[in-house]
């Protein structure tokens, strides 16, 4: 049970680690790192669920009967692109926040915002 599904355990651990970092850390860059880990866990989830034991890559060849499911791999390629776009946008925003507020700590930014109000 534990060892047989170890890939899913990795997924769950990564997912929780990433999610925790997003919530708990005040540093904007760290938040984005957490978000990336969180998303990556989902990529692994999709990829490992497509694996068929004893199956190979879906290329027609003699003597091969069993193939892994290629569809989740393709889906996750799209999701990876989306993830990169999100990270890039997040980092770009962090740069501009640094220029505008002079800090990338959530607390400092919140404090400066409260002063503005």
């Amino acid at each position: 049970m534990l060892m047989g599904l170890y890939n899913y355990w990795i997924v769950v651990v990564l997912m929780m680690v990433g999610f925790y970092i997003v919530i708990a850390h005040g540093n904007l860059i760290k938040k984005i790192v957490g978000l990336s880990i969180f998303q990556t866990s989902v990529f692994i989830f999709y990829i490992s669920m497509a694996k068929v034991e004893g199956g190979t890559a879906p290329i027609l060849a003699e003597g091969i009967r069993q193939y892994s499911n290629p569809l989740p791999h393709v889906l996750i390629l799209t999701a990876i692109v989306v993830g990169i776009a999100t990270t890039a946008l997040g980092l770009a925003l962090a740069v501009r926040i640094k220029e505008a507020y002079g800090s990338i700590e959530e607390e400092d930014i919140q404090k400066k915002d409260n002063l503005d109000c």
């Binding site: 999610f19 997003v22 904007l28 938040k31 978000l35 969180f38 998303q39 989902v42 989830f45 999709y46 669920m49 989740p72 889906l75 799209t78 999701a79 989306v82 776009a85 999100t86 946008l89 997040g90 925003l93 962090a94 501009r96 926040i97 505008a100 507020y101 930014i109 915002d113 503005d116 109000c117």
Partner: protein, 492 residues
């Protein structure tokens, strides 16, 4: 050509977006965007007409059969949403050229229109598609462009709001992705129609239950259900005014559509409302949202903030209608979706006009505006009356059906609370009226004039729609009824 309408609906704005780069002058790009959005509006009206006459339209992308290829499936619900989104987008765009001249630096105008079109294409795509993974892709297209659009706001707080929205939005979208993955794992299909047939066989498994929970929480983050609404007020308040008018009327509506689609069509009514205590959960959160957000709205000093909180409250009404889970309840939700889009786009466009003239939306700056900008302020008053739910405005129609739906179910305390919630709306609308009409103009600002026609025409189009659909409810009620009946599988 007519057979390809479902895909053209999405492709037109999607393809128009990069083409904007070739047009250098701001006015040209604006005209081009307006034409693309207008075309989308035309297509969605044709689609709605076609669906109402001949039923669901199925379009297979590239000619691949449904479970393998991606299929676009337009039924009454989709067509209704497509019409709302493209109509609001087009009307709001009419004022965009004048409004962004002041709010966005000139070298970013083209980028603004590109992002706007991408966001529009994403939203239309979410609604048009019948493929669960496609939903995620379009969701991210519309969200990513939304984050960038919000960050274009003048105030530095726009950046912070956009960042927070990015974090929350990505968590929501990833939750939806996890849910879709689990559904695929159990059924081997991503087609929504196919999913709805295969999920009942595996409905007892824990995986399906977990998938459902992930999807629901993800969607609720996107639709800003109380208490997951924290990203919304700042995002709406600091985004460029045009962006706020567009998103307030469409973005959360698309998420409400996803909620309805996943619970009613994909997971099926009997599973959705038994797996989780969804009814109890949503009625409580909906009502809490109505009260918490309305009370928060009363204490806001920034009028954009005020209406943003009111948006959270209005989402509460939609969720209450949804949780009744009868045809009347769902109809009330759909009607409120339509009506709220009309109210909020009118209100936020009027605020855009105020920003254009006085450069601020602080309530303290509204003194005497009732006399200086009579048409704009009259629009805010009528929009506000509609929010409260005064008869002869659209707000009354949706509140009426909502009250009817809850009473039908014997939930009279809920009905009472809904009416009480409307009273709170009177308070926050009155605060604006009081300042604008009963206070003398601020010294040194006597020269403020009425907003230009490029604002007044779209604002009053929306205001007149607010009144028209409040009196002649045939179109909205008929479509909402047909859509909710088809979701319940009742043949009309």
């Amino acid at each position: 050509m007519l057979a390809h309408l479902p895909i053209l609906q999405v492709i037109v704005p999607l393809m128009a977006a990069p083409l904007c780069l070739f047009l250098t002058r701001s006015r040209l790009v604006w005209l081009f965007t307006l034409i693309a959005s207008g075309l989308a509006f035309l297509i969605s009206s044709l689609l709605l007409q076609q669906v109402m006459v001949s039923g669901t339209i199925i379009y297979e992308l590239g000619g691949w059969d449904a479970p393998w290829g991606i299929e676009y499936r337009i039924d009454q619900l989709n067509a209704f949403l497509l019409l709302i989104i493209s109509a609001v987008s087009t009307i709001v765009l009419l004022a965009a050229h004048t409004s962004i001249k002041q709010e966005i630096p000139a070298d970013r105008h083209t980028l603004f229109y590109i992002l706007y079109l991408l966001s529009l294409a994403g939203m239309l795509g979410i609604v048009a598609t019948g493929d669960a993974f496609n939903v995620f892709v379009f969701l991210e297209i519309s969200s990513l462009s939304a984050y960038a659009l919000i960050a274009l706001g003048k105030d530095r707080r726009a950046l912070w709001a956009s960042y927070q929205y990015l974090i929350m939005g990505t968590i929501g979208a990833t939750f939806i992705l996890i849910g879709i993955g689990m559904m695929y794992q159990m059924t081997g299909t991503l087609n929504m129609d196919d999913l709805s047939k295969r999920l009942p066989e595996v409905a007892h498994t824990r995986t399906v239950f977990t998938a459902f929970a992930f999807v629901i929480v993800g969607v609720c983050l996107k639709l800003a259900l109380f208490p997951l609404h924290l990203w919304l007020p700042n995002a709406y308040a600091y985004a460029p005014s045009i962006v706020t008018a567009f998103f307030a009327a469409t973005a959360t509506k698309v998420a409400v559509y996803l909620l309805i689609r996943f619970t009613f069509s994909v997971f099926g009514l009997s599973f959705s409302f038994t797996a989780l205590p969804l009814q109890m959960l949503f009625v409580v959160l909906g009502l809490l949202g109505i009260f918490a957000a309305s009370i928060a709205a009363i204490y806001q000093k920034n009028v954009k903030h005020l209406f943003a909180y009111s948006s959270v409250a209005q989402i509460g009404y939609m969720i209450v209608g949804f949780s009744v889970s009868t045809t009347t309840g769902l109809m009330a939700t759909l009607l409120h979706l339509f009506n709220h889009a009309l109210m909020k786009s009118a209100l936020f466009l009027a605020l855009a006009a105020v920003v254009y003239r006085i450069g601020s939306v602080q309530l303290s700056q509204f003194h005497g505006l009732g006399r200086q900008m009579p048409f704009t302020m009259a629009a805010i008053v009528i929009g506000g009356l509609s929010l409260i739910g005064v008869p002869l405005t659209v707000g009354f129609v949706s509140k009426w059906y909502l009250a009817l739906a809850t009473l039908e179910n014997g939930w009279w305390p809920v009905t009472a609370l809904i009416l009480l919630g409307s009273l709170l709306a009177i308070v926050y609308v009155w605060r604006i009226v009081e300042v604008a009409y009963f206070k003398p103009p601020i010294a040194g600002r006597e020269s403020i004039k009425e907003a230009p026609l490029s604002f007044l025409i779209p604002i009053w189009t929306l205001v007149i729609a607010n009144i028209y659909f409040g009196i002649d409810t045939r179109l909205s009620v008929q479509v909402a009824q047909a859509a909710s009946q088809s979701l319940f599988g009742v043949s009309p």
